[in-house]
Each structure stands twice: as structure tokens, then as C-alpha cells.
């Protein structure tokens, strides 16, 4: 198994900096997603690792071996493209055999390994089909098998699910993740779909403008985003501006907010008196139809409700001009125009420094 190390990688296209000193480690057998909007440099990073793009500065290492100057054919990688890039003039088995032939594997061995790889992706019946005779999902699995049959040091996936329809995409997420764990291969996965990255990855790298905004396991990114941008990019969220009243302990602060005083987990950098941004996920809020009174009770007016299927989303407006959305179970009898009571699960909040935020 291979560990990937990227050190201070830089790449410019004309006068646009695609990568600004990017450093990253992918541990043995780990699946890391590069997540970000288009143009954030995630694909450029992948193409540098594949050898399709030569970085202007920095180094790429597979274990101790510096591969920055190696051409792609000598890097021993398996790559899956967004459009699969199966050779249209070759059958499924010829597509799989290609990489083995390039490695001068003996004929008998090629046939055996091709069959094994196709069994792995459950396509052993499609041996003699041409790619155009296969469905999108099947082509996808052939592309995976073709990348894995050569037993590469690293697997690189460039938006492999973007061309599939929604239900197949969900299914393939688990298929790819399961396959990756069975093979135990170190994997770099590029996607712009945050739920895909969350479901599949050991760690997610969020990138904006050629820089890493945050690296961490999916749960950390969701619960403890490092910036407003990361919070917005991952999951549904809303922000409430706040002022730090006091530090409770190393991990918590007391905040003055339009919703009253709240105690929330916080970035350790926050100090007393500082402007903060409170990240409020919809699941941190509970809504009840009955009008309650009490210190923690916050009355709001329901402006609109949307039926989402598994839940109902309500948009509420509160005193002080704050608008928030909260979810209830589909059976709830809260209707637009009514008053409702909001309670906040403070453990699910997260406070960030508001610096540099408009």
C-alpha cells in the first residue's frame, strides 16, 4: 500500500493561479475526497498526481519515491474518468487487458486476471461486449475494473458518478466505497457533490480558489466548519450573528444573539467581546405548534412551509428581524401564518469568528 504526499504544489494557467502551495497527505488505504466548486483546483491536483499536468513548483511522493518528474505511464496509477474513457474499439475484456499487456503480463495470466476483475464488479457476463452496448452504470464498473486490474499503487477518480442518474449514483457510492475498502487501495476522489464526499470518504478536503480551506473527517467538517464558506458548502445551514459574552471553558462560549443568550461549542480562537458567527444546522432547532412561555422559549411566526417528503421545512421570522428555517416531521400541524415555539439544542451549534465576513 502506498502513502501519497503532496508538498507545496503550485500550478498556474496563464495568469490564473490554479494551485497555491497545496500540501496534503493521504495515508495508506485511505480514501480522501477533494471537494469544492468548479475551478477550485481539485481536478488540477488530481491531474498533477496522475502526471497529466506538470506542476510549476512542489513535489509529489508515493511513499519515499519522488514521482513529480515521472510520465503518467511510469507512475503505476489507476484512473477513472468522468466519461469513463473506455476504448470504444475494444471489447470489455480487451479494455481490461490493455494495462496488463502494457506490463507484459503473460497471455494466460491476463485472461485470468481480467476474469477476476470483472467478477469483482459483477460483470463477468459482459466479457465480449463493446462499451457502447453497456449502460452507463455498467461502463462505470468496467472503468473501475480496468483501473484496478493492474493493481496500481493509487486509485484516482475524477467525478466518476457525475454522468449517472440520481438513483444509480447513490448505489454506486456504496459500491465504490465497498470495493475500495476490500482492495485496500489508497484513493484520491474528486467531486463537487458534498453528500457524495461525506458518504464515501475517510477524510474530506474542502478547496476554494486553489487552496485547502479545511481537511477532516466528514463529521468534523459538518459539525465544526472552519469558515463560513465551508459551513455553506457542506450541508444545509444558516447563520446568526452573535457577540461573545464569556468563555465557559476551552470548548464553549456564551453568546449574545437575537435569539437570546446561548452557550455553544466554539472555535478556541474566539475571545470575549469578539463578533461571532453562529452556525445553525436545521437539526439543532425544534419547532412546536403550542405557544409556550419561559426563559428559553422563542416565539416566531411561520411565514412559509415546504413539504420535502421525509420532513417539512418551515421558515420563521422572529423579533429583531431574524429569519430561520427549521424542520418538523411530515405529520406536524404547523401551518403558514401560525405562531410557533422554537427550542435550540445548543450542543449542535458552532460558533466561528466573524472576521472578514460581510
Amino acid at each position: 500500500m502506498t502513502r501519497l504526499v503532496i508538498e507545496r504544489l503550485e500550478k498556474r494557467f496563464g495568469n490564473v493561479a490554479a494551485l497555491k502551495s497545496l500540501s496534503l497527505r493521504v495515508e495508506e488505504g485511505e480514501l480522501i475526497s477533494l471537494l469544492g466548486p468548479s475551478g477550485c483546483g481539485k481536478t488540477t491536483t488530481l491531474r498533477c498526481v496522475a502526471g497529466f499536468e506538470q506542476p510549476d513548483a512542489g513535489e509529489i511522493l508515493f511513499d519515499a519515491q519522488n514521482i513529480t518528474q515521472l510520465p503518467p505511464e511510469r507512475r503505476d496509477i489507476g484512473m477513472v474518468f468522468q466519461n469513463y474513457a473506455l476504448f470504444p474499439h475494444m471489447t470489455v475484456s480487451q479494455n481490461l487487458a490493455f494495462g496488463l499487456e502494457m506490463r507484459k503480463v503473460s497471455q494466460a495470466n491476463v485472461a485470468e486476471r481480467v476474469k477476476q476483475a470483472l467478477r469483482m464488479v459483477q460483470l463477468d457476463a459482459m466479457l465480449d461486449r463493446y462499451p457502447r452496448q453497456l449502460s452507463g452504470g455498467q461502463q462505470q464498473r468496467v472503468a473501475l475494473a480496468r483501473a484496478l486490474v493492474i493493481e496500481p499503487r493509487m486509485l484516482l477518480l475524477d467525478e466518476p458518478l457525475a454522468n449517472l442518474d440520481a438513483s444509480l449514483r447513490e448505489e454506486m457510492r456504496f459500491f465504490i466505497r465497498d470495493l475500495q475498502q476490500r482492495v485496500g487501495i489508497t484513493t484520491l476522489y474528486v467531486t463537487h457533490d458534498q453528500s457524495e464526499a461525506m458518504v464515501m470518504s475517510d477524510r474530506v478536503v474542502v478547496m476554494f480558489n486553489g487552496e485547502i480551506a479545511q481537511v477532516g473527517p466528514p463529521r468534523d467538517l459538518y459539525a465544526r466548519p472552519a469558515s463560513r464558506e465551508v459551513a455553506q458548502f457542506i450541508g444545509r445551514t444558516q447563520f446568526v450573528s452573535a457577540t461573545v459574552l464569556a468563555r465557559r471553558d476551552a470548548a464553549h462560549v456564551e453568546l449574545d444573539t437575537p435569539l437570546g443568550t446561548l452557550v455553544a461549542p466554539a472555535d478556541p480562537a474566539l475571545v470575549i467581546g469578539q463578533q461571532a458567527l453562529l452556525v445553525v444546522r436545521p437539526e439543532a432547532l425544534r419547532l412546536e405548534a403550542s405557544v409556550q412561555t419561559g426563559a428559553k422559549a422563542r416565539q416566531g411566526q411561520v411565514i412559509r412551509t415546504y413539504f420535502l417528503g421525509g420532513s417539512v421545512e418551515h421558515v420563521l421570522s422572529f423579533a429583531g428581524g431574524v429569519t430561520l428555517f427549521a424542520h418538523t416531521a411530515p405529520g406536524s400541524d404547523i401551518a403558514a401564518g401560525a405562531q410557533a415555539t422554537l427550542s435550540v439544542d445548543e450542543r449542535q451549534l458552532w460558533a466561528l469568528p466573524a472576521s472578514g465576513v460581510a
Binding site: 497529466f52 510520465p71 503518467p72 484512473m79 474518468f81 470504444p88 474499439h89 475494444m90 502494457m102
Partner: protein, 283 residues
């Protein structure tokens, strides 16, 4: 179906045009080739196969037929070798000079065949531009024979037919997903192997179309072989014109023309047949 019937009316003008101006003349040529020669008339009464037996029994005619086929083959091969790199570049470049490059590629077609051949005469003749330069540089004492031989004819044919190779090739190469080359590299193929295993087989439809076009065109070329080949280079079309115009032997000329056409058709059919394995999976 009413839609089908209406369709027939739409293509009727084209059908009539092709029927009257293409099919009927062809049938006339076939008939003419089976007539005996006559003095004072295009052909005599009755039918005969003598015109064909004479061609196939005469080593001279067969030799010219072989020379013509060889000329076509040479021209086609050279066009393919010269045209592929140009087409590859044009298909893949995003340079702002792309439009200009296209004009360069098409330039041989912008000048009429006679004018173009005169241009080659000026360059290639015994005291032409090239020989004068070479002598001026002291590289040769005697002028090189650059024309009135198959070299001059091939050179001029390659020049004019190159666009017919390059244009279909550009189309074929443009339709190839560049990711396929990257996929092949990632699987361990060197650039040479990528060319052999990916670009070449996938551009085969373009190679095939270009080769057929250039081969058929050079087989039937007349003006270029006449002007640059002199008395040394005889091709079938030169013989056809000789028979028709100089000797006024229409049945013999018609038979020669049919043999040339059949040879071309046969060669194309054979080529398509033999390259069928290359086209598998590409439909």
C-alpha cells in the same frame, strides 16, 4: 405511407438529374464498349467483346494499367503519411492560427489544375527554378530530371490531393475523446503505444475515407500526368483520351475507360474488405 410518397416527390428532381446525366451516359459507354469500330462513324453495327479481349491480351495496356494503379497507390500512401500529422495537429490545436492553417491546407484547391501544373513546370523543368538554384549553389553539374517522369507526376498529384486526405482525417481525429489517450497513458502506455493502440485505430474511418478519395482521384487524373509526365508517363486516362480524341476509336476508348473504372472499384472494394477488422466496434 403518405409521408414516404411525399418523400419521393422531394427527391424526384435529383433522381431525374442523376438518371439523365449520369446513368444514361454510363449505360451508353457500356454499350459503346461492346460495339465494333468503324470508319466515318463512331461505331459499326452489331456487338463484340473484341475491345476487351484486346486490352487484356496486350501487355502494353496491362502495363499502363499497372503503372496507373501503382501511381495511385504511391500518391495515396504519401498523402496519408504527410497528411496525418497535419490533420492531427489541426484537429487538436486551439491556436489562433488555426484558420490560417486551414487555408494553407486548402490552398492547392484554390488554383485551377492547369495553372497549378504550369507552376510545377516552372519549378521542375530542366532549366527550371530548382535546377537553376542547385546549379548556382554548385551542387550539381547536369540538371536533375524532376519532370517528364513519375516523380514529377507523383509530386504534383500529392500536392493537389493532400486536402482530400487531411479533411476527412481532421473529422475523424476530432471525434476521438482526448481522455482515451490519457486513460491509455495511465494504464502504462508510452506515447508511441498510445498512437498505435488508440489514435490510429480510432482514426481509421478517416484514414479509409481519405485513402479512397485520393486513390480514386489520382487514378483518374488526366491533366497532371499529361503536363508533367510528358511522353514517359502514360496513364489509363491518357490512353482513353488518345483513343477518343486522337484516334477517334470510341469503342476502344469506352472499353479502356470501363477497365479503369472497374479496376478502381475493385481496389476500393478490396481495401474496404481488408480493413474491416479495423472498423470493428467503431460503427
Amino acid at each position: 405511407m403518405s409521408g414516404g410518397r411525399r418523400g419521393i416527390w422531394l427527391i424526384a428532381p435529383a433522381l431525374v438529374l442523376i438518371g439523365v446525366f449520369l446513368v444514361l451516359p454510363y449505360l451508353n459507354i457500356v454499350l459503346m464498349s461492346l460495339r465494333p469500330p468503324a470508319v466515318g462513324a463512331p461505331y459499326g453495327p452489331g456487338f463484340t467483346t473484341a475491345n476487351f479481349t484486346r486490352i487484356f491480351g496486350d501487355a502494353y495496356f496491362l502495363g499502363v494499367l499497372a503503372d496507373t494503379a501503382w501511381l495511385g497507390l504511391k500518391t495515396t500512401l504519401i498523402c496519408a503519411l504527410l497528411g496525418y500529422p497535419v490533420a492531427f495537429h489541426l484537429a487538436r490545436t486551439s491556436s489562433r492560427w488555426k484558420g490560417l492553417l486551414y487555408i494553407f491546407v486548402l490552398s492547392p484547391l484554390l488554383v485551377g489544375v492547369v495553372v497549378r501544373s504550369f507552376g510545377w513546370l516552372i519549378l521542375l523543368s530542366g532549366n527550371g527554378v530548382i535546377n537553376q538554384w542547385l546549379r548556382g549553389l554548385g551542387l550539381i553539374d547536369m540538371p536533375l530530371t524532376l519532370m517528364n517522369n513519375s516523380f514529377g507526376v507523383t509530386l504534383a498529384l500529392v500536392h493537389v490531393f493532400l486536402p482530400f486526405m487531411i479533411l476527412p482525417l481532421i473529422g475523424a481525429i476530432q471525434s476521438i475523446d482526448p481522455n482515451l489517450a490519457l486513460a491509455a497513458r495511465s494504464l502504462g502506455a508510452s506515447p508511441v503505444q498510445v498512437f498505435r493502440r488508440v489514435w490510429l485505430p480510432l482514426s481509421w474511418p478517416g484514414i479509409q475515407a481519405g485513402c479512397i478519395l485520393v486513390f480514386v482521384l489520382s487514378l483518374s487524373a488526366y491533366v497532371t500526368p499529361v503536363m508533367l509526365g510528358g511522353a514517359q508517363v502514360k496513364t489509363m486516362s491518357v490512353l482513353v483520351v488518345q483513343a477518343l480524341i486522337d484516334n477517334f476509336r470510341w469503342p476502344a476508348g469506352a472499353a479502356l475507360a470501363l477497365v479503369l473504372a472497374a479496376t478502381g472499384g475493385l481496389a476500393v472494394w478490396l481495401f474496404v474488405r481488408l480493413s474491416r477488422p479495423m472498423m470493428r466496434g467503431l460503427e
